[in-house]
Subunit: 517 residues, 2 copies
């Protein structure tokens, strides 16, 4: 299949949590939740969000002067729709009608120059700015610490250039994942970036938060695809990337990638593209245990040949997530791996898995995963309705630390949530020669204060990650949720250096206050 | 062959220009030089370098207190041997007895803590510091703008750790290329980093200057090998790299890599390693023209499979450099490509070259290149003696810009050196999906003022690179020679950000004054 793998045309750019995307929780899952003590809570009242002080006339006039009055929205509905991202904590606060992170206005610039003009004038008009593209942050990346205007980049939606000789494309920041694929597919190319937020997230967000997609084994991370970028800052524009690689000083692209809007707003990027594949293959493999599967995926990561998609679930994730219990041979245990190829099936990859003890389960489990792979986030709202608390977190480390890291995080979560014993699911979905990511999903019954319940669990997990030598995020980013852990990870001197960079670009601190640093 | 390819045991850590490495210029080359109007100049007087003011007793006492008096050298010979790098301009100044870049002392710390203590105390003692590992800079990277102490890192020569599961090695900054390979070979591994400076350059220099080696098609650049590093700064230590990749903010490793000693001294790095190959293959290929070869190497870079070494000479380099004129079929013209494999010969690579019009010349030219591949820099001194001016420069760009960039740089050099018509040789030796490097060698007769002669030519080349959209350096770095062009490339706001980072780490400006920024 090719087209069916890219569900682009039928999607409207929306956000998780949109009632139009409501997903039913499978009956089997509801049954399983009962074993965790999950009971449907009394629906909390959902107060209408309270108004906050409006912008002054002078502030609105400034915004209108830059983008046009018709592209400035200060109505409650628009502001509320741009409030926060999609962490479980965000959802809980949203449901509680908590307006503390609501922007004062939303503006829609149409060009780099308009973004630059907005940033240049914000300090004078006492406005902080939060860049917004997909709104899919799960780390508190849209929660500035003072009142702010949201800059929604959806009108920067163009493919500005496609260089077929160099195989690069220049895409504006507001192009969403499916739109980017459609624009490139029209020319015979693909970006190959399919994070779980694919349907809603956009190019600018991918870059600003160092996204990594489900095809990262074949296409790399988004920060590895970017060969050039344009950044608007309150003090002017920075353009980087004269060549794929350079020895002309530090790689400043890698200083801007991951800066999460704190240094400026990325308005366009130049990305490596590849010919669109004419065939794709997905299949499932069974291993006796997570440890056995770990050895197999490490072998592929280190000696190849890597498939395009490589994913390994642990025992609990395998047991919990499978719609069809027969997939693994009628409950025989073991763990499920998914591999996928963009292009011809590579028997050499399969041979490595077989040699490592893998059993080929055929295309069935591969297709099940492929067709459902963007669905999980949509389950959160109905699961919250049912009284479950569901959240994910992720890390990465060098291979030798992976087993102990997995154990430590799992134990930390189980310990912190002992009053509501959780299920902790885990998978590996991004591999490198020297290490891999670990992605955890936690499911338990909601307590009376689920925000605090998760805060405690998350803190314990963060401590476990730090103690076991992992990074605080492999692909979700820092936002506000990971700020303290991030600073501990890189150390106070490096944080000072980042603050110095921010001060250079943003001396008045108007950009994303409280995010990252 | 395997061992013979790594000439490690017989090499002493020296520097180019060492009389012990004297190389005869081939008679055929001398004959060819006559056509360029090259005449052996009257040997310039080589005055003994003049002494400069010595360090004060307090300064020497401070240095001795940190590293021990026996590891502080202020004798003229040692200081002179640590003066400058190995650009042709450096050589000419060295020959003229120009002491303007001579350090006041050379110190040899033995540990990260000693380096950190040196940096912490230098401001108080009014000492600037130039880090020194291999001394192989060709861009004025060892020429601080005020009097300074050189910190020679040769005693930091240990393999601190080797993680076989993660395939990482922790190497100290002073480990030279051959020593690193020897240390890793003892454990069955290789780094795979073989720049032309391999015999003399060291791990710290590779990292600080973003080195790229001749096997970059297979092993990547050095900045792609580094997964962790430790930096000593005047204000403390920065340790980076919890995982191969992370979304925890900007990739600060890539801010330190390429900082050329301006932010701190890299004392150790964690690098990706690979199993040492048990076989290697090198061979030559002929293409009708550079353009035809360019299409072939681009095809390999974009669609694979890449060999470990991939190198394409243009018509002039092919004609000038070949020891054996019969290699290309008795002067039939065309251009020479070299491919090399670490591991089994890959027929699929050869098939791509054949399909692109290449003719396999067999192992002969490959072995000729392999055995001579570190020799070229040693020819510079005898060529200067003969009255020739020989220098190299390099750039990189996206594929679509490569042909025009090559033409523009060649024309700029020919124009600027019209009084002494030059030969301009060019090759591609580093490829990426989206672009490649271009490496130029210029040969002409010396004028009466060869330093000024080259300054003019280099300025013209730099302008041509900028105008044609190339980067000012693919793997030589910035140093002092490229500083102005570098600042033009990244823009004033980015330079300000770098200065802010430097001020954070080095508020008194003791580190490598004038280098990079």
């Amino acid at each position: 299949m090719t087209e069916s793998d890219l569900p682009v045309a039928q999607l409207t750019p929306g956000r998780w949590g949109d009632p139009a995307y409501h997903v039913e929780v499978p009956a089997a899952a509801l049954e399983a939740l009962k074993h965790l003590g999950v009971h449907r809570p009394t629906p909390a009242p959902r107060p209408a969000p309270a108004e906050r002080p409006e912008l002054t006339g002078a502030q609105l006039a400034f915004l209108s002067s830059v983008v046009g009055a018709e592209h400035v929205a200060s109505d409650l509905e628009t502001r509320w729709a741009h409030t926060r991202g999609y962490s479980t904590t965000d959802l809980l606060r949203f449901r509680a009608g908590d307006t503390s992170d609501m922007p004062d206005a939303v503006v829609y610039p149409a060009s780099h120059d308009e973004v630059a003009a907005l940033l240049a004038g914000c300090a004078e008009h006492d406005l902080a700015v939060v860049p917004y593209s997909g709104g899919t942050s799960v780390v508190g990346g849209l929660a500035a610490t003072r009142r702010f205007v949201t800059v929604d980049l959806r009108r920067l939606d163009q493919l500005l250039d496609l260089d077929e000789v160099s195989r690069t494309a220049t895409l504006q920041a507001g192009v969403r994942g499916p739109a980017a694929e459609r624009l490139l597919a029209d020319r015979g190319y693909t970006l190959g970036h399919f994070p779980q937020s694919y349907e809603g997230a956009s190019i600018g967000g991918y870059a600003a938060a160092r996204s990594s997609g489900q095809s990262s084994a074949g296409y790399g991370r988004f920060d590895q695809m970017v060969v050039g970028l344009t950044l608007a800052t309150p003090r002017g524009t920075v353009e980087l990337g004269r060549a794929p690689m350079s020895a002309a000083g530090p790689d400043l692209r890698q200083l801007i990638l991951g800066s999460e809007g704190a240094f400026g707003i990325i308005t366009s990027v130049v990305v490596r593209i590849r010919p669109r594949p004419t065939e794709r293959h997905f299949e499932g493999w069974r291993f006796e245990s997570f440890d056995a599967g770990l050895t197999a995926v490490r072998r592929l990561a280190q000696d190849g040949p890597l498939p395009t998609v490589l994913r390994l679930s642990d025992e609990i994730e395998t047991a919990v997530n499978l719609a069809d219990p027969d997939v693994l041979g009628g409950g025989s245990g073991g763990v499920l791996a998914i591999i996928g190829f963009d292009g011809p099936y590579n028997q050499a990859t399969a041979d490595v898995l077989t040699a490592a003890g893998g059993e080929n389960l055929g295309e069935g489990p591969g297709e099940t995963w492929r067709t459902g792979r963007y669905r999980a986030p949509y389950l959160r709202d109905p699961l919250l309705d049912e009284g479950a608390l569901v959240e994910t977190l992720e890390t990465a480390a060098f291979w030798s630390r992976i087993p102990a890291l997995k154990t430590a995080v799992t134990e930390a979560l189980v310990g912190a949530l002992s009053a509501t014993p959780p299920l902790v699911l885990c998978h590996i979905s991004h591999v490198y020669e020297t290490g891999a990511s670990l992605y955890f999903t936690v499911v338990c019954a909601q307590s009376d204060d689920p925000v605090e319940q998760w805060r405690t669990a998350k803190y314990a997990a963060n401590q476990a990650i730090a103690d076991a030598g992992g990074t605080i995020s492999h692909h979700h980013g820092v936002g506000t949720d990971h700020r303290a852990a991030y600073h501990a990870e890189i150390g106070s001197l490096a944080v000072e250096a980042l603050r110095a960079v921010k001060h250079t670009f943003d001396p008045d601190g108007v950009l994303n206050p409280g995010i990252l640093i």
